[in-house]
């Protein structure tokens, strides 16, 4: 199992609830790859100022999504993010396993502990 962290920046000139629609599309895009994202792993930040101007915008809505996937080709999903007009930038990082367990991404149950001990 591989844990990933996806950050998407949506345009800051949208209304707060106008983000729901493109965000939902991104989430369903993940779901169509067989990745199920739990709601508690979708973290919406309040509108945030950029450190520098991007496309004449100075602020954006940041959403951080953590998910676990196995052998999934994310390139098509990334392309759809890149093409989306509401998305300013995005980034997908692979989380190290230690960090993913610390965040409880591999299931909150302490399953991996006895597995390591054996």
């Amino acid at each position: 199992m591989r844990a990933y962290e996806l950050m998407i920046i949506f345009r800051g000139d949208l209304a707060e609830d106008a983000v729901d629609e493109p965000l939902g599309r991104a989430l369903s895009g993940l779901a169509s790859l067989g990745v199920d994202v739990e709601a508690e792993h979708v973290n919406r930040w309040p509108k945030r100022r950029f450190a520098y101007e991007i496309d004449h915008l100075n602020e954006g809505y940041y959403v951080v999504i953590e998910f676990v996937a196995d052998g999934v080709d994310l390139s098509g999903f990334e392309r759809s993010l890149r093409l989306s007009d509401a998305v300013v930038r995005h980034k997908i990082l692979r989380l190290p396993d230690s960090e993913a367990t610390r965040r409880g991404l591999f299931g909150a149950a302490p399953d991996p502990v006895p597995a390591e001990a054996s």
Binding site: M7, I9, F50, A51, Y52, I54, G60, Y62, V64, R89, K91, L93, P96, S98, E99, R102
Partner: protein, 155 residues
């Protein structure tokens, strides 16, 4: 001749001082998150540059992860690539190479115009010349010879 030989390092000529310990070691940070902007800012100068290891006390691995995290944070506009800090430069440094070296301009011609323009008047009050860079100096007096400043000293 004992002087020509490289002197063995003794307590007198080695650089002493307590070894700096990185905050990462001190606080036992095990994952350096690029979203943790406040942590990463400690490893950057006011200008937005990554601080050197000898300043921060990071070991090589920590420095690598910090640098990568800063670069990721920059891509997501969480941290700046550069912070503009307006400074007043000393007269006679900038623009020096431009007016000189032309043919026929020896000692007989008119003296080369003052090599640096007078400090521009603040336009619209947007960017008043500040001394923020000097504040950076003052913040770290022990590391005044950091390479950050070397590029300005070379001319």
């Amino acid at each position: 001749m004992p002087k020509s030989r490289p002197r063995p390092k003794t307590r007198e000529n080695t650089r002493r001082g307590k070894k700096k310990v990185s905050v990462l070691t001190h606080k036992r940070v095990e994952y350096i998150d690029y979203k943790d902007v406040d942590l990463l800012r400690r490893f950057m100068s006011d200008r937005g540059k990554v601080r050197a290891r000898r300043v921060t006390g990071n070991d090589a691995q920590q420095q690598r992860t910090v640098a990568r995290a800063i670069k990721n944070a920059r891509e997501m506009a969480l941290l700046p690539y550069a912070n503009r800090i307006t400074t007043q430069r000393g007269a006679g440094r900038s623009g020096g190479p431009r007016g000189e070296g032309g043919p026929g301009r020896r000692g007989d011609g008119p003296p080369p115009s003052p090599s640096s323009a007078p400090p521009p008047p603040p336009t619209g009050g947007a960017e008043e010349p500040e001394f923020a860079e000097e504040a950076e100096f003052a913040a770290e007096p022990a590391f005044a010879t950091e390479p950050e400043f070397a590029e300005e000293a070379e001319s």
